[in-house]
Amino acid sequence: MSLLHGETETAGAEALPAAEAAAPRPRRGGWRWLLGRLLRNPSARIGGGVLLLILFCAAFAPWIAPHDPLAVNTLGRLKPPSAVNWLGTDEVGRDLASRLIFGTRYFLLICAIAASISAGFGILLGLVAGAGSALADTVIMRFTDMLLAFPYILLVLAIVAILGPSLWTAMAAVGVAGIPGYARLIRSVALTVKREEYVEAARALGASEAQIILGTVLPNTISPLIVYLSYATPIAALSAAALSFLGLGAQPPTPEWGAMLVNSRSFLFTAWWAVAAPGLAIFVAIFAMNLLGNGLRDVLDPRDV
């Protein structure tokens, strides 16, 4: 009966303002506030901690790594983990631990480049589509529809096929394939923000359309953007690793984790560590990013902000 249809909605809607009006709300906004809340979130703490460790390894790889990651030792092939080779050696006797440590550089590089390409073009297109003219919106959205019509990995493969296999083209391909997702996100946020009364207020103060887009709409896309970034980047990193695994990305002897995996896969039953090491590295890194993403989403939840 209708009494029951109404109750949940009305009760919830009323309860919130009542609580909101009274609760002393902590200072919101600003990076320090964000960091403080993240540190109190367990999943963000773990994910962020692992990523910091990866960052540290990448920055100080030459000092941390016990061996040269490219040094071949034909006498010490596929040795199990030991005191000298912490994680054992691969099929040409290179030290796996050192390769993993140097691999963090490639991992972060892929994340950074792919995310920059996706987010950079995605934000640009999304803003123009969401806050610009109706014609621009139609053109850009049909373009993203076209990109989205291909399965993600097929799109990536097609771009690599055009550009030729290398680490750089893999990053570019993954980056380009990520554009439509960002563009759609930013567009939808821009469309919402554009209708907000504070945008009208900015216009009433004398702001031009460009000033409104850059000064008011763009800053208001940051929260959803950060959350999306933390979801989309691991997918991009995983795809880049997959490309390397297929031989279309990083080429041997580069110590990139995906490429390491493909070289060792034939020894899965004789030298499992050679497969397990890069496999686990990829897993842990991606998992950490997802944890951080979950934490960020909890902290920046739009219902909350």
């Binding site: 906004g29 207020a201 900015a202 216009r203």
Partner: protein, 338 residues
Amino acid sequence: MSAALSPARPGGAASRVPLLRAAGLVVRFPVRAGVMGRPKAWVHAVDGVDLTVQAGETLGLVGESGCGKSTLGRTLLALRRADEGSVEIEGQRVFELPPAKLKALRRHAQMVFQDPVASLDPRRTVGSSVRMGLDLHGIGTRAEREAAVAQVLRRVGLRPEHAERFPHEFSGGQRQRVGIARALVLEPRLLVCDEPVSALDVSVQAQILNLLKDVQAERGLGMVFISHNLAVVEHMADRVAVMYYGRIVELASREMLYADPQHPYTRALLAAVPSPDPAQRGGVAAPAGEPPDPARLPSGCRFRSRCPLAMPRCAAEEPPLLDLGQGHRAACWAARGA
């Protein structure tokens, strides 16, 4: 700083030019069948409105939801374009101004919005929101702007150190004070207030109404005060315009409108306000029937479907805003002396 507007400053040769004049204003919205479909009908949110506001005067604009009063308010400040008609602020036709001139004009014609939550950018500190106008118009040095912000915050009853806080840290009433400060910092000569207190509780509403009245008197502002609340409009306005479905149906001084309303819609509105005296209970002559579909208004007078005085002429001929003398105007064939 006001070079662009100096010809129209009060006291100059152009002082008889009204602060704000709208003539024949029409704003239409299409009613579409589908998302991309051709418009199957038009809703006239504003349908032929003429009005003037003099410096130092408050014009109250009152009407029920959907009567077009908010759209009119925004059109008066060129925040949206009119489909027909013109708006002049200090003698300048706002729809014909090049962007730079319009921007310069905006400095002197500001707006206070209804929703103190939605009208403040959640990502800007209060100080940044208030300073925004000064930044956009490049007024003063950084230090002078900060000083101006501190001063205006004090004027609206906040503390200068509030500038560093974010809107969510304030109550509704305080946020509305910020909204008023943001408009006042540019030292406008015209202020359009769109339902500035309808989101506030009565005790806070009194604070904001007093503030607006004080500021208006202090600075000799011309004000358009939009509200659905007849008691609030009576408290604030010198002259009152009553809107019904895009039209001004009655326009008079506050005293005349409330004491001697001539349009049956105005009378119904006034009668419908619940009296705070329990001795005067019931007997309310609310207009019969439901408000019409805005896309299919009755022919002739748009109020005739709910009007107790409707006669054949009302269906045939739409009454213009007839002059009843002493500045009292009503769009009704049955009005006194019509």
